[in-house]
């Protein structure tokens, strides 16, 4: 209850803030007409200043010149306003689930439009054809391509390609032709719209922007296939629609459409393919070139983001020069580049690239939506009931038709056919977005005398789909109970099912059954053999070791913090070891955490698509892992403290039990610790340094001690552990040395804290991990 009121308070604060900003903006706009020219209100002491300001030649202490900064000022104000709205949107937690974020952007745009309209202000010319295509569109495309989850995409590639290409074509032609049919009816007053114009409109309006729907999907956790279909569609759809758009514009520019012969239509088709495929090839070439360049940048890491952005942009521009689809080129470039660039660039550059990309695309989208809002509340409209209603109607109908028709065919080739419910959801998620509006806005007026009609119709369709469909799609998904990703109730099930997946894949490989894994594996082999050698920097293993190290240090820091906590709690007195733990159910949080780890980290045969949200970055897995480790450690800490205080176990040490946990046993005697140090100096193995020998040595020593303390559950573990590190001690290199000091130093001040068995084991296991992890790649 309190939380809700808090949220409400926050929201009201946000709204107040928003309102104040709006008032400022309004004041700026409102004040502006009165400024007009360079009028100079000066605040001199001189009283004669009021007399004749325009002819005053004195130096002015205080001047105001709005026109100079007008355009950047207003643009910045818009963007800030949209950002405030987004903040408010996310603070109020329920909203993001109800509606897509595009709703807020559109609302802001309408608000700004209303203000501008009310103050009779001439809005800055943000949107014209060259600005849109050269500056506003590329960041959006780049961001979509870069953050695309590649593995699920390529697994479903056939279906996605089939669906996007044919779907767009079907939709465009369908809507265009049907509208043309409607236009022929005299009563609606639309007879001056010829076939080409209708076809063009059809292609424009079929540009779908379902990314907005993806957020809702993620919330409802629909199955991965559905997610990928929609995602892939949004990616390819933009490119295809723009290609169609340009072809139709080219047709329109030919003098009279009666002159268009079949040869031209044929040429149009051929051009479609050339443009599309050419775009892909262009993009791939540029992707490789840029990946190659990043190989050499380890001394100038600050230019790495620059390389990435400039090369992608260059691919776009080059493609556009040749009238090839720049969008597809850029997408292909981003996808190709990502894999290699991520391995080459430094961590900071990587983060920079991600954030900067998100920022740019966010700005672009905001500007487009605001502009759309501005155009909404304006004078350039033409309302025609028939056209608009039929447009809406046909959009819905044709999308549904194309979905069902195309999926019916592609289901025959899929092992995972889409059910009726899935198809219904896909057809309902056809939200229109910024791209349709932009294309409508940029129609050349001379060729399209009724351009305003198109704009109005487009805006109505966008509003309808975004608001009504966007809001209702969530409940619809829940109502239809679309097959969800299998959120298992138990960890066991998750493990077993994964095991089975792998088993199945293995057997399929053995019996020579061709599956798409083979194709992917073949590509991987080619990749490993040739591409990676050329495109990725050398000394790769070191970097993964280094990153592993950093992680160990973070964990060490966490441990230090915790052991500080532990000392403060009174756990030093419980001498009971050999306690056992009652089998209690894991807390839901723990189960959730474990499941998350399993879901994200099990080597998946079919990986889940990570959450894609245009407006936020996907969370980093390693952060989550670190968090999760922290959660578990806290839990264990709490447990051990609880036990220390509440349960009077006077059990002697030798009883069995530890079941499956290395359970907290109570603090060890400090002597144990010395043992560790002693062992360190004795058995010095060759090759490696510090920590590794420390750990591996400690184990044989402590093992017998532990065994005395409690009956070790598993003699095998014993064997494994010893066997493990010894193999690998030789492998550890110089990178260990630095770490050694931190470890030793850190251990010194904390004699007591660490020695519960659980943490001891964990501690050991960390170190083992150091040794184990890099070895994995070699052993197998």
């Amino acid at each position: 209850m309190g939380f809700a009121t808090l949220a409400y308070a926050k929201l009201s604060n946000m709204l107040l803030l928003l309102l104040s900003v709006v008032c400022c903006a309004a004041a700026a706009y409102g004040g502006e007409p009165s400024l007009g020219k360079r009028s100079v209100p000066h605040y001199e002491h001189d009283s004669s200043s009021a007399v004749d300001s325009s002819q005053d030649m004195r130096l002015h202490v205080f001047t105001l010149d709005y026109e100079y900064v007008q355009i950047p000022y207003e643009v910045t104000l818009w963007i800030l306003l949209a950002s405030f709205a987004k903040i408010g949107f996310h603070i109020f937690h329920r909203l993001p689930r109800l509606m897509p974020e595009s709703c807020i952007l559109i609302a802001i745009g309408a608000l700004v439009g209303a203000i501008i309209f009310a103050s009779h202000h001439k809005s800055p010319p943000v949107m014209n054809s060259s600005i849109y295509f050269l500056y506003l569109l590329p960041p959006i495309i780049l961001e979509e391509g870069y953050f695309m989850p590649t593995r699920p995409f390529f697994e479903n590639f056939g279906s996605i390609l089939w669906w996007s290409v044919l779907g767009s074509l079907l939709n465009s032609f369908g809507i265009g032709l049907s509208l043309y049919g409607v236009c022929q009816i005299e009563a609606f007053g639309l007879t001056d719209l010829n076939l080409l114009q209708n076809l063009l409109f059809g292609s424009m309006i079929s540009a779908v922007d379902p990314v907005a729907a993806l957020v809702v999907f993620e919330e409802a956790s629909v199955n991965e296939q559905l997610y990928m279909m929609i995602f892939g569609e949004s990616l390819l759809n933009d490119g295809i629609t723009v290609v169609l758009y340009n072809i139709f514009i080219a047709f329109t520019q030919m003098h009279r459409y009666e002159e268009i012969e079949s040869i031209d239509v044929f040429a149009g088709f051929a051009r479609f393919f050339v443009v599309g495929l050419g775009g892909f090839l262009f993009g791939i070439v540029f992707g490789f070139v840029s990946a190659f360049m990043t190989r050499f940048t380890h001394n100038v890491s600050s230019i790495e983001p620059l390389l990435v952005f400039m090369f992608s942009y260059l691919s776009y521009l080059c493609a556009e020069t040749l009238y090839i689809s720049g969008i597809l080129a850029m997408t292909a470039c981003a996808v190709t580049m990502k894999k290699y660039v991520e391995e080459n660039v430094s961590q900071n550059s990587y983060t920079t690239i991600k954030y900067f990309m998100k920022m740019l695309s966010s700005i672009s989208e905001t500007l487009i939506f605001v502009f759309m809002g501005v155009s909404t509340v304006g004078k350039n409209h033409e309302w025609n009931w028939a056209f608009i209603c039929f447009t809406l109607f046909f959009c819905l109908i044709w999308r549904t038709l194309s979905v069902f028709a195309l999926f019916y065919i592609s289901n025959k080739f899929r092992t995972y056919p889409f059910t009726f419910k899935d198809q219904l959801i896909i057809s309902y998620s056809g939200l229109r977005g910024a791209s349709s509006f932009s294309l409508a806005f940029l129609l050349p007026k001379n060729l399209f005398p009724r351009k305003n009609l198109f704009i109005t119709a487009t805006i109505v369709v966008i509003y309808f789909t975004v608001f009504i469909q966007g809001i209702t799609i969530g409940p619809l998904v829940k109502y239809l109970d679309v097959k969800k990703t299998n959120k298992k109730e138990s960890i066991n099930e998750e493990i077993h099912v994964r095991l089975m997946d792998h088993l199945k894949a293995g057997i399929e490989d053995i019996c020579g059954h061709w599956s798409h894994y083979q194709l992917r594996d073949k590509f991987k082999k080619f990749d490993n053999k040739y591409l990676k050698k050329i495109l990725i920097r050398e000394h790769q293993p070191k970097s993964s070791l280094v990153s592993l190290y950093k992680k160990m240090e973070i964990k060490l820091a966490i441990e230090m913090a915790e052991s500080g906590m532990k000392i403060s709690k009174s756990s030093t007195t419980s001498p009971q070891s050999g306690r056992k733990q009652r089998a209690h159910r894991l807390s839901p949080a723990e189960v959730e955490a474990m499941r998350d780890v399993l879901a994200h980290n099990l080597y998946q045969v079919r990986q889940r698509a990570p959450a894609y949200n245009r407006h936020n970055l996907p969370t980093d897995t390693s952060e989550k892992q670190a968090q999760e480790i922290l959660i578990r450690r806290e839990h264990s800490l709490r447990q051990s403290c609880r036990k220390g205080n509440s349960l009077p176990w006077g059990r002697p040490v030798n009883t069995t039990e530890v079941r499956y946990f290395s359970l907290p046993q109570g603090p060890r005697q400090p002597t144990r610790r010395k043992v560790r140090h002693v062992t360190f100096t004795d058995q010095h193995r060759s090759g490696s340094d510090a920590v590794l020998p420390l750990t591996s040595r400690s184990q044989p020593r402590t093992r017998p001690l532990e065994a005395k303390q409690r009956q070790e559950l598993i003699p095998m573990a014993h064997v494994d552990r010893r066997a493990g590190p010894s193999n690998l001690s030789a492998r550890r290199g110089n990178s260990v040395s630095r770490h050694r000091f931190t470890r030793a130093e850190n251990r010194a001040p904390m004699p007591k804290a660490r020695f519960t068995v659980r943490e001891m084991e964990e501690y050991e296991s960390e170190e083992e991990t150091e040794t184990m992890a890099p070895a994995r790649t070699l052993v197998i």
Binding site: E155, N156, F157, G158, S159, F413, T415, E489, S490, I491, N492, E493, I495, H496, V497, L499, M500, H502, L503, K504, G506, I507, D509, I510, G512, H513, W514, S515, H516, Y517, D521, K524, S544, S547, K580, A583, R585, M594, N601, L602, Y603, Q625, E628, I629, R659, Y660, F661, S662, L713, I714, M716, A717, E761, E762, E766, E768, A773, P774, R776, I780
Partner: protein
Amino acid sequence: MGSAHSVPAEMRELADRTGFTSEQIEHLHRRFKQLSQDQLTIRKENFDSIPDLEFNPIRGKIVHAFFDKRNLRQESDGLADEINFEDFLTIMSYFRPIEMNMDEEQLDRFRKEKLKFLFHMYDSDHDGKITLQEYRNVVEELLSGNPHLEKESARSIADGAMMEAASICVGQMGPDQVYEGITFEDFLKMWQGIDIETKMHVRFLNVDTIAHCY
């Protein structure tokens, strides 16, 4: 394209025993010959020639399962050194899809056999129980595809899973009880929720396999 050396009578016998059709047997036989390089038996090393298997994290266990005598329906225990075609077919028969004409009892037996195969994969020391360490092994192998995940996480996951298994199988345990390991009956209980018949099967096609887009 049957090779001459497999007599129809033998084939029929094999077909009866393992449940495959004769085309499937021929197809598998071709594969067997390819794997064994035209020898009569396969050894563990022959499995190295399958490059795609390298990416599989539980590769070791799978190969091991082929040579596990318990899976080969032999009375003895331990590992065989080499298997012949008949054994190969026997292992493959665990992965047959269910057929429509199976009755209740056959289905149940089928399910049990598949589960037993899985159980043997977990239980590497052949003692009839999955102990904590074996379970840990499995989870670690599964997670080995991600080199950045610490073993400790894998361990905790295995521990948690084991505890869950205990609570499913034995319910609330008293302070004195020890849970030794998962027996086959417990294993069956855990699998009640998952329908293994639909998951654990491979489509054995009759002719040269076709590429599927998933």
